[in-house]
């Protein structure tokens, strides 16, 4: 296999597996004779995607917007919180259990409270997306900082660096691989957050669209909504992956990332 062939295969792989999934999905529908009302076939879903494309574009735009704002907040706040609890063990002890407990609560239960404060629509969705996705970021950043090798820390300490400098010069860079791992989880959760908030209280967004679809037995439209969210999630992740390649390439410097065994 030449290097060029290998490159083509690499580029084609995600598409191949996506196509594979669609085929399996269609086959499952056929073989198990699953009623369309429960699980739409890919063909039907595609039809719905085309038929309702206007509504889908509009609602997808709304969901993407709320998700991105919520996710942006989650990055800022998650990083800050992660740094704080990663760098200060006492803070971690104080806040850790609260955060874990808070996170075990389904966020959908909190949407009504948010609606009370902020009304129906975009704001609760943004906040839900934020609430659901900041935690993985904070946890991973904290782990990255807490596992900072004392030897690297000493490099800065020996210069008499302040805590802030240590954080900035070694804590955060060291935590970058952790941070980017968390983004994969957080971006998907952010979509989940805004979509469930839209199902609870909104006149817009993919969540709203899915609710309408399911209540009027338009299962293909429901699945079109799911597909749209999935695609948006992947697109957003691709952006994050790009950032990762620029900011944390040093961490995956193995020959080409994988494990290589002997004989």
């Amino acid at each position: 296999m030449t290097a060029r062939q290998r490159k083509y295969i690499r580029a084609a792989l995600p598409w191949l597996s996506a196509i594979g999934l669609v085929v399996v999905w269609e086959l499952v529908c056929l073989l198990f004779d699953i009623p369309q009302a429960i699980l739409a076939t890919p063909t039907a879903t595609l039809k719905a995607l085309i038929q309702y494309q206007d509504a889908i574009w509009l609602n997808a735009g709304q969901t993407l917007l709320t998700t991105l704002i919520g996710f942006g907040l989650a990055i800022v706040f998650g990083l800050a919180l992660g740094v704080a609890i990663g760098a200060a063990p006492l803070l971690y002890r104080a806040l850790g259990p609260l955060l874990i407990g808070f996170n075990a609560i389904p966020k959908v239960a909190l949407v009504p409270i948010l609606v009370m404060w902020f009304g129906i629509g975009t704001v609760p969705a943004v906040i839900t997306a934020f609430l659901i996705s900041f935690f993985p970021i904070a946890v991973n950043v904290a782990a990255g900082i807490a596992t900072l090798e004392p030897e690297l820390q000493d490099v800065l300490r020996s210069l008499g660096a302040r805590r802030r400098d240590i954080l900035w010069k070694v804590g955060l860079p060291r935590a970058m691989p952790y941070f980017f791992a968390s983004l994969k989880v957080a971006i998907s959760l952010a979509f989940v957050g805004s979509v469930i908030s839209e199902t609870v209280a909104s006149n817009h967004g993919i969540g709203h669209l899915m609710l309408i679809a399911s209540s009027s037995f338009r299962t293909p439209l429901l699945f079109a909504g799911l597909v749209v969210i999935a695609v948006l999630g992947v697109l957003m992740y691709a952006v994050a992956a790009l950032a990762e390649r620029r900011l944390a390439h040093w961490a995956t410097r193995g020959t080409d990332g994988g494990l290589h065994g002997g004989g």
Binding site: E151, L152, D154, V155, L156, R157, S158, L159, G160, A161, D165, K169, V170, P173, M176, A248, W250, A251, R253
Partner: protein, 269 residues
């Protein structure tokens, strides 16, 4: 000002809880400003620990450490340190690693953004003196062991610290490179007269560079001997062939032998 820049009083250091490894015991040591001290002793005797103690990276578990009149309670701000392992930051290139102290230490940090170009040139020049021109933009893992060590040395020097601590800085270098760097370091020291602590296993190196050599004994580390080195400066490499130079080496060697006490095969904690 030139008296007792560093004063260590009956300092001890135990790693871990009580009952842990007693690395240093009852260390008494004073250094004048601008003095060049070499520290030698068997492996594991506490040389690196001594540097950490003085630089404030580790607090003593007994006794006290004073640097320029102030008791050391935390890391000092006047130190340049080359650790035993190069410990370069893997996300920074060689040049960026060397620039690190300038981004952190006053007064450079304030000027750093404005004068980045100047500082970069300074760092490039310094990397050049240790033979690393052309490798400024390599990441640490793209450098050989000896190259990493040289980058680490540059990082200790770049911000012109008042107190320089070198932990076996030339250990991974071949004889020629090493000798060139001795000369470079000596020239720099003669120019700036920073107080220096040099940990080394190379007695020639110690005798070549230091004003005084202390020998630390096998665990628990104590200062078991002290030898002044009084050859005039600048010291040329030829000095190595002088009889009193070799006599000194012999003397120190004998003292280390005594300091080892416990033979290898029974070297328990």
């Amino acid at each position: 000002m030139s008296s007792d820049f560093i004063r260590i009083d009956k300092a001890s250091l135990t790693y871990g809880e009580e009952g842990g490894v007693l690395a240093l015991q009852d260390i008494d040591l004073t250094l004048k400003q601008g003095e060049f001290l070499a520290v030698v002793g068997p492996s594991g005797c506490g040389k690196s620990t001594l540097l950490k103690l003085i630089s404030g990276l580790r607090p003593p578990t007994g006794g006290s450490v004073t640097v320029s009149g102030q008791t050391v309670t935390g890391p000092l701000k006047i130190v340049g340190m080359a650790f035993q392992n190069p410990t370069l930051l893997p996300w920074r290139t060689a040049l960026e690693n060397v620039l690190l102290p300038l981004e952190v230490v006053d007064p450079h940090r304030r000027r750093f953004r404005a004068d980045r170009r100047t500082y970069e040139n300074k760092a490039r020049k310094l990397l050049g003196t240790v033979g690393l021109t052309g490798f400024e933009d390599h990441y640490p893992w793209q450098l050989s062991g000896g190259m990493q060590q040289r980058v680490s040395l540059c990082r200790a020097l770049i911000h012109e610290p008042a107190l320089l601590m070198l932990d076996e800085p030339f250990g991974a270098l071949d004889t020629f490179t090493r000798e060139e760097l001795w000369e470079a370091l000596q020239a720099l020291w003669l120019e700036r007269r920073f107080t220096t602590l040099l940990v080394t296993h190379d007695l020639q190196e110690a005798a070549m560079l230091a004003d005084r050599i202390i020998v630390i004994s096998h665990r628990p580390g104590r200062i078991s001997a002290e030898c002044p080195v009084s050859f005039p400066r600048p010291r040329a490499l030829d000095l190595r062939f002088a009889p009193d130079f070799n006599a000194l080496l012999h003397d120190v060697r004998a003292k280390i032998d005594v300091a080892r006490q416990v033979p290898l095969s029974g070297g328990a904690a």
